[in-house]
């Protein structure tokens, strides 16, 4: 390890040292504002250090981590979304008593885990990143330990995540036993051709672990409960950052060659179709905004898997674009739940949003754009994401997957319209109190909404960036 290696790892190192700084800060003086300030400053520095690392790529740092444009792109996305969540959390946790500062410590550690995942090319770094992420999330999910739903969500997440990690480890062991290596690159050369049963079993078990983090069917059971029980900003993190990191890892771990293998292809095909159907159908009857968004996220990762299954060189770009669109959109949606929540509990019942547009047109307007983007209506990033996914699927003539995608998104539209209709219906007689928007949250939500619309209308700069940075993955 020399200076260049350290420079290449600078984003990771900066996130890690920020978490130490926040911890020391808490020890010295408990201040919510200080903790948020340090976190955002550290994440900003980490983001800027990506530009320092950029001239050195591609660079293999030890056999565990590869710092290439792919890793840097996703690190950027992860760090920015974590910073946005930190800003949004300030307004949210400021209303609550008790010890709020540790959340930022956990947030930084979880971000570090995500950043490790997107750079990992080896089972060891895979597992390390995953566990850093998971262990931080256990505590984040149950952060309000006096709330019933939070505790339930935390325990559910803890048990299921540990079980899935066990599956993952066993899978890794089987693959190692068969191939004698833990590096992904070796696996890439082995999987397409004559693969042994042991290797296939190993891959299947690792897919279980990955599928759990993505919350795709049939590993989705935790999703609605954890989304509902977690504090809203943590939900935003679980929905966006942690899933982004996992998809990025999946594309590295199972490159397009592996999809030549029929069983692997079929497994992912079935997972994709089941996720699109189950996610969209189960969301129809929900009356809780967080639960609706949970089921909708299951469906969205089904859509992403459709692009992944195409396995062409454009697929990585399509997945990347979809992830950016999904992250931006979900941050706005969950961000609005975050800023509207009071101290008693999160504002997540659909009824609470009745008539919001007539009372708070700007917030409701942003929420509407986010919902339309999730539904894939043009002039939003969500539409272009879906368009890109359909394009790569059409290129390989995956008509059945495309049809399922189209029909289930019509079902999906129904529940987005339900929320939308609630926002615009007449306000109730005695409306609940809605807190004012803090400046930081307003800025974050505003910028993200502008992103969503501008890149939805003119996506070329973002498309070119994505194609340049992650298009050459395979």
């Amino acid at each position: 390890m020399n200076v260049t290696d350290i420079l290449a790892l600078l984003p990771l190192l900066l996130i890690a040292s920020t978490s130490v700084a926040v911890m020391l800060g808490i020890a010295a003086r408990r201040s919510h504002a200080l903790a948020v300030g340090l976190t955002v400053a550290g994440l900003t520095a980490a983001f800027l250090s990506i530009f320092l690392a950029a001239p050195l790529i591609p660079r293999q740092v030890t056999s565990l981590l590869a710092i290439d444009s792919y890793a840097l792109f996703y690190m950027g996305l992860i760090i920015l979304s974590a910073a946005a969540i930190a800003v949004l959390s300030y307004q949210y946790f400021e209303k609550h008593d008790g010890q709020r500062e540790e959340l930022y410590l956990l947030l930084l550690l979880a971000t570090l885990g995500c950043a490790v995942l997107v750079a990992s090319v080896h089972f060891v770094s895979f597992l390390l990143g995953l566990e850093i992420l998971s262990v931080s999330l256990y505590a984040m999910v149950a952060y309000f330990r006096d709330r019933q739903h939070a505790l339930e969500a935390g325990i559910k997440y803890l048990i299921l995540a540990s079980a899935s990690a066990a599956f993952l480890l066993f899978g890794m062991a089987l693959i190692y036993a068969d191939t004698g290596t833990m590096a992904f690159s070796q696996l890439r050369e082995l999987s397409p051709g004559g693969s042994s049963l042991m290797l296939l079993a190993g891959i299947a078990l690792t897919v279980t672990g990955i599928g759990f983090k993505l919350g795709v069917v049939p590993f989705h059971l935790w999703t609605p409960d954890v989304y509902q029980g977690s504090p809203a900003p943590v939900t935003a993190f679980v929905a966006t950052t942690s899933k982004t990191a996992m998809v990025a890892l999946l594309l590295r771990y199972l490159p397009s060659g592996a999809l030549q293998n029929r069983p692997v292809f079929w497994v992912f095909g079935i997972i994709a179709i089941a996720s699109m159907c189950v996610g969209n159908l189960l969301a129809l009857r929900q009356a809780n905004v967080k639960r609706i968004l949970a089921y909708s996220s299951i469906a969205h990762f089904g859509y992403i898997l459709v692009a992944f299954l195409a396995g062409t060189s454009a697929a990585a770009s399509a997945v990347g674009f979809y992830l950016v669109a999904y992250t931006v959109t979900s941050l706005v949606a969950f961000g609005i739940v975050t800023v509207l929540s009071g101290r008693e509990g999160d504002l997540d019942a659909l009824e609470d949003y009745r008539g919001l547009f007539w009372r708070r047109p700007v917030i409701a307007g942003m929420f509407s754009v986010a919902l339309l983007s999730l539904a894939g209506i043009p002039a939003t990033m969500g539409f272009l994401g879906k368009f890109y996914v359909l394009t790569v699927a059409a290129a390989v003539s995956a008509w059945s997957l495309m049809l399922v995608l189209a029909i289930t998104s019509v079902a999906g539209l129904f529940y987005y319209l339900r929320i939308l209709m609630t926002l615009y219906s007449a306000p109730p007689e005695r409306p609940s109190l809605i807190p004012a928007l803090a400046q930081g949250s307003a800025l974050v939500l505003g910028v993200l909404t502008i992103f969503m619309v501008c890149f939805g209308i003119y996506p070329t700069p973002l498309l070119e960036l994505i194609r340049a940075m992650i298009g050459g993955l395979n």
Partner: protein, 495 residues
């Protein structure tokens, strides 16, 4: 550049209307009226100036939009688009005026949606890049949804959701077909493009062509509507506010007819030819079914909604007969249906504003208290049942004359539709306006504002009915182009 301006003015006016509403509700109304009026004048200017242009388009704008996918921002207007645009802005003006007293709450947001839905419709009629077309196609849905769900009547949520889901389902299938066409074209020529003129005549196997045509057809058939896919229409029309009904009946349905004319038949001529018998049967079924359902309605707006199903059946019949007479008939029917049905919705909306019901059973004898309103209703009912001298007659006559060359039997059955329209139109007149005023209704007659609307629409219908030649002349070059596209592959096959 003027084409971008047409859409830009509406988008900008929508935003201004939304913002200025906080000071006075007069601002959004006047801003919207000025914007749509300006668009109408600009379109009329293109129309009178159309002789000077060379090539198939009177005017066009083309710039690269998303080069990574070969997407262009390409707007172009020929005679077909131009006629549709004039109808759009004319009915746009009518919708703004008719909402003047009907909409009293949330005026700013109402006019925002009204302007944006008109902008989306104008985009649909102008886009010749398929991606842009889809973009505009979806974009007009959202404001329409809001118009129904916020300012609609009793079952507005149900109606709006159903409308959105039906259209979106058709739209997504069309998107898949567009993408498939994009790749088929790439395989054949090596270029990625969504450009309409380049995608014309893309060589493909008959099976592929049929599937792709069906993908497009579903989207347009939902909008038109073609009978098994029409069930959203009565609900949406009935529950929308007056301006929404006018735009739905007058314009949104026409986007379906326009799509069939512009895209389905020219892009997939052989598949469309194969599909012709089925389409003609569906058209005739729609004509009779719509008339029959209209006859049995007790809700005035629902009745008018079902007459749309019947009239648009003639449009489908005309388009799939695909000869000059039938095509001219289809386009005249689309325009005149927009005027006559739009006017009937304005009158039904006016009645509802006055007596707070749409139930025919609670009307009767209105002529005795509101003669001018009733006379107007009589005029448009007669237009709707195809009285010679008014536009609808010209359209339906031409359609039948054209379809006679394709199938005599179906034409005879379709003619029964005109007969049936007499029944429902006269029944409506008799139940609502004639007879004794048993419910002792008291209502004001047409206001000058409403008189203006009605007068303009009467003039339009009479003009097309008595002297349709300018409309046909405008459409003629566009029709020749469309027909050439369709005949070219057929000719190469024969060779």
């Amino acid at each position: 550049m003027i084409l971008v301006l047409l859409i830009g003015i509406l988008l900008l006016a929508g935003i201004l209307a939304g913002v200025t509403a906080r000071w006075s509700t007069r601002w959004p109304r006047w801003i919207s009226l000025a914007a749509v009026g300006l668009d109408l004048v600009l379109t009329a200017a293109i129309w009178t100036d159309r002789g000077s242009s060379a090539g198939p388009w009177f005017d066009e704008v083309d710039c690269s939009w998303v080069p990574g996918f070969g997407i262009h921002f390409h707007l172009a207007a020929d005679g077909l688009s131009l006629l549709m645009l004039i109808l759009t802005f004319f009915l746009g003006v009518i919708s703004v005026i008719t909402s003047w007293t009907e909409i009293t709450e949330r005026v700013g947001f109402f006019h925002f949606n009204l302007m944006w839905v008109l902008a989306g419709i104008a985009g649909v009629f102008l886009a010749v890049d398929l991606f842009l077309f889809y973009f505009a196609w979806e974009l007009m849905l959202v404001p329409m949804y809001f118009l129904i769900v916020i300012w609609g009547h009793e079952r507005r949520v149900y109606a709006a959701t159903k409308f959105f889901l039906f259209t979106q389902c058709g739209g997504l299938l069309m998107l898949i077909a567009i993408l498939a066409l994009y790749f088929v074209h790439h395989q054949a020529t090596g270029t990625y493009t969504f450009e309409y003129s380049e995608l014309l005549g893309t060589p493909m196997s008959p099976g592929v062509e049929l599937w792709l045509m069906l993908g497009f057809l579903v989207a347009f058939a939902v909008k038109l509507p073609v009978v098994p896919l029409h069930t959203w229409l009565p609900d949406a029309h009935t529950n929308a506010p007056t301006a929404g009904s006018v735009i739905l009946a007058g314009l949104l349905l026409k986007t379906g007819g326009y799509g069939l004319l512009r895209f389905v038949v020219p892009l997939f001529p052989r598949a469309a030819h194969e599909f012709t018998p089925a389409a003609l049967v569906l058209a005739v079924v729609g004509i009779l079914y719509g008339a029959m359902m209209a006859f049995s309605q007790t809700d005035l707006k629902r009745l008018v909604a079902y007459t749309s199903v019947s009239h648009l059946g003639f449009v489908l019949l005309g388009i799939f007969s695909w000869n000059p007479l039938a095509l001219q008939g289809a386009i005249v029917t689309m325009i005149c249906h927009g005027l006559s049905t739009g006017a009937l919705f304005v009158l039904a909306g006016g009645l509802q504003e006055r007596i707070h019901t749409r139930d025919l059973g609670r009307m009767g004898g209105i002529w005795t208290v509101a003669p001018r309103l009733s006379a107007a209703a009589l005029f448009f009912s007669l237009a709707s049942l195809g009285l010679p001298g008014m536009g609808d007659f010209v359209g339906e006559f031409l359609v039948l004359a054209g379809s006679y060359k394709v199938s005599i039997a179906l034409t005879v059955v379709a003619t029964l539709g005109i007969l049936a329209s007499t029944f429902y139109a006269l029944r409506m007149m008799q139940r609502a306006f004639f007879g004794p005023n048993t419910n002792s209704l008291q209502l004001a007659d047409l206001t000058p504002r409403e008189g203006l609307i009605v007068g303009a629409m009467v003039a339009g219908l009479l003009w097309v009915g008595l002297y349709p030649q300018p409309v046909l002349n405008t459409f003629a070059p566009a029709m020749d182009n469309l027909q050439r596209e369709v005949q070219a592959p057929a000719a190469t096959l024969r060779r």
